[in-house]
């Protein structure tokens, strides 16, 4: 059994890291969304996560399931639109999987429950140019890395981030068939999907936290030995510098410099 206080602190650190990352990328996400959506994704996600940081800090409880459920609830009430229910509502439902704490098994179950809820609610599949295009490969890769390849959670998470990255790249050339972008039809081609992109940023932030904060709890419950985190964790988030849209598009498509997480506004 792991120490619940540490796990609560880990969730708090993860929420803070995701909030920081989305604050950094606020402008870029909104630029992506203005090309093919309604130009509020970055601002909405930032507002939701800032509120989540406060909610978690004010919470009396510190078990992961309760905290994650609180984060979900906060996002639902702050973000609205489609992103609120998709991210927040799914986190609320999936939080149940963390009832016994954060372990390799429970995080796989969390990822699967989260993905299932997103697909169920949004009705999107891989190839529709939505967050599902980043989330699906990430969850599947994480699960396979843990269950079949017997990788430690940290290495598995790094692989999942890589997979999400490829998923984001994949959204650029395809045509949207779900979400607001679908109303544009072929005009959506060439633009990177903002929802897939925010999913990638969240996973990258979680990986960062896992690297420095979670070794204890996650590894204790994992069946594997110590984490050889150097190589797999190293190239995931840092790679992929240039995934702006290949053809600039008439709407003055998003600039391609926001991959460096520290770049934009603070």
């Amino acid at each position: 059994m792991t120490d619940e206080i540490d796990q609560g602190a880990a969730v708090e650190a993860a929420v803070q890291a995701v909030a920081d990352r989305l604050a950094d990328e606020k402008r870029y996400l909104t630029d992506l969304d203005s090309a093919i959506g309604d130009a509020d994704h970055g601002a909405n996600m930032n507002r939701g996560m800032q509120a989540a940081v406060e909610a978690v800090a004010d919470a009396d409880e510190d078990d992961p399931a309760t905290l994650v459920q609180l984060v979900g609830r906060t996002i639902v009430s702050e973000v609205g639109g489609a992103a609120g229910p998709l991210y927040g509502g799914s986190a609320m439902i999936a939080s149940k999987e963390l009832a016994d704490g954060i372990t390799a098994e429970s995080t796989v179950a969390f990822g699967e429950a989260f993905l299932e809820k997103v697909q169920d609610r949004g009705g999107a599949n891989v190839g529709d140019k939505t967050m599902v295009d980043a989330l699906t490969p990430a969850v599947h890769t994480y699960k396979k890395s843990i269950e079949q390849d017997d990788l430690p959670p940290l290495a598995a998470l790094a692989k999942a981030v890589d997979a999400a990255h490829r998923g984001v790249d994949y959204t650029v050339p395809i045509r949207a068939s779900k979400g607001r972008a679908s109303y544009l039809g072929w005009r959506s081609v060439g633009h990177q999907d903002p929802g897939a992109t925010s999913t990638l940023y969240i996973l990258e932030a979680l990986l960062g936290v896992a690297e420095e904060h979670l070794e204890g709890p996650v590894e204790e419950d994992a069946t594997s030995p110590r984490v050889p985190d150097e190589e797999p964790a190293g190239d995931g988030p840092a790679a992929g510098g240039e995934n702006g849209p290949p053809e600039g598009g008439e709407n003055g498509g998003p600039s391609s410099e926001a991959d460096d997480s520290e770049a934009d506004e603070g």
Partner: protein
């Protein structure tokens, strides 16, 4: 563009306070929420009927709060879905223990937030059901859209479901009547001008003096087709024929028609359109049981109209004729 507002960010909040000021005996605002409910909600022994969506469509939705129609109405920001926690608060407030029906227009944000709210209240043991209205015949249900939009036909769902709930039908039966309307109603709209949202302060889309958009939604989204301006009769023909083709009604069917203003068109013009709609019903051998003309579901200050046709049976006629007492719609015994 001149607007009678203070801060654009306060429009919805101040509008709701204004509505309560105008109807203090019948409307009440949930504290800390952009939700209005009937002053006497929840009504004992009755299924709750609620709705909601973006603001900017007044009198939709809060205008239909009252006896015989809605118990609760959630107002999102202009053209933006209410958040799930506001919907949750509304549903809980309107549950008298008999369950609640949410009437949702088919827009992704609305559907997802109502779904999420349903999950949240189910944890509190509220029996909640929802129906999704998708009456806009201009948008095809296909892989490439998220299905048909829900527009003015929603008002008829409010009326029929509200009347069924008022006479004491149980939740399943109220749902059945609501779905009966959804299966038998079609709408199509046109815009002569773009609307102007308070935040943006300028037209959402550019439309030439001699052009109109056909097949518009109610959020300032462009239509399916841009055509040259034409006389009212031609507009009425175009919209009505599209709706009738979709509904494919037998000769002799009784119908209710709505000529709905989009917010910026005077009643005189709506009646000109109504005149032609009435002729068209006759040409198609359809019996007009009732015809509504006015601003029922608007798009801010947009000029234009939509035409709704709903096929009736005895049950729907009875429910449509049942008394209703709301700010925007009154039906007397």
């Amino acid at each position: 563009m001149k607007k009678l507002i203070n801060d654009p960010a306060d429009v919805v909040d101040e509008m709701l306070d204004g509505m309560v000021a105008a109807y203090p005996d019948s409307l009440r605002r949930l504290e800390g929420n952009e939700v209005l409910v009937r002053a006497d909600a929840p009504v004992d022994g009755k299924v709750g009927v609620v709705s909601g969506g973006g603001s900017g469509h007044e009198p939709t939705h809060a205008g239909y709060l009252g006896e015989g129609m809605l118990d609760g109405a959630a107002a999102g920001e202009i053209f933006t879905s209410p958040t799930a926690d506001q919907l949750e608060a509304m549903i809980e407030e309107c549950d008298a223990g008999e369950g609640v029906l949410s009437v949702v227009k088919n827009y992704e944000g609305d559907v997802m937030n109502f779904d999420t709210a349903a999950e949240m209240v189910e944890m509190e043991d509220v029996d909640v059901r929802q129906v999704v209205v998708d009456d806009d015949v201009a948008v095809e249900d296909s892989l490439y859209t998220s299905g048909r939009r829900g527009v003015c036909g929603t008002i008829l769902v409010h009326k029929v479901a509200g009347a069924a709930a008022a006479r004491g039908d149980d939740l399943d039966t109220v749902v059945e009547h609501a779905e009966g309307v959804i299966d038998n109603v079609g709408t199509m709209g046109t815009a002569l001008t773009s609307c102007v949202t308070p935040e943006k302060g300028e037209p959402t889309f550019d439309l030439g003096e001699d052009e109109i958009e056909l097949g518009i939604g109610i959020h300032g989204e462009p239509g399916t087709e841009r055509v040259d301006m034409m006389p009212a009769d031609d507009v009425a023909d175009h919209l009505t024929e599209a709706v009738l083709e979709d509904l494919d009604l037998d000769a002799g069917t009784e119908v209710l028609t709505i000529v709905n203003g989009m917010g910026g068109t005077p009643l005189s013009e709506l009646f000109v359109v109504e005149r032609r709609v009435d002729e068209l019903m006759d040409e198609h051998d359809l019996e007009v049981w009732d015809a509504w003309v006015g601003d029922y579901m608007t798009s801010l200050d947009m000029e234009g109209c939509s035409i709704t046709v709903c096929a009736l049976d005895e049950e729907r006629k009875e429910l449509l004729a049942a008394p209703a007492d709301t700010p925007a719609l009154t039906v007397r015994d």
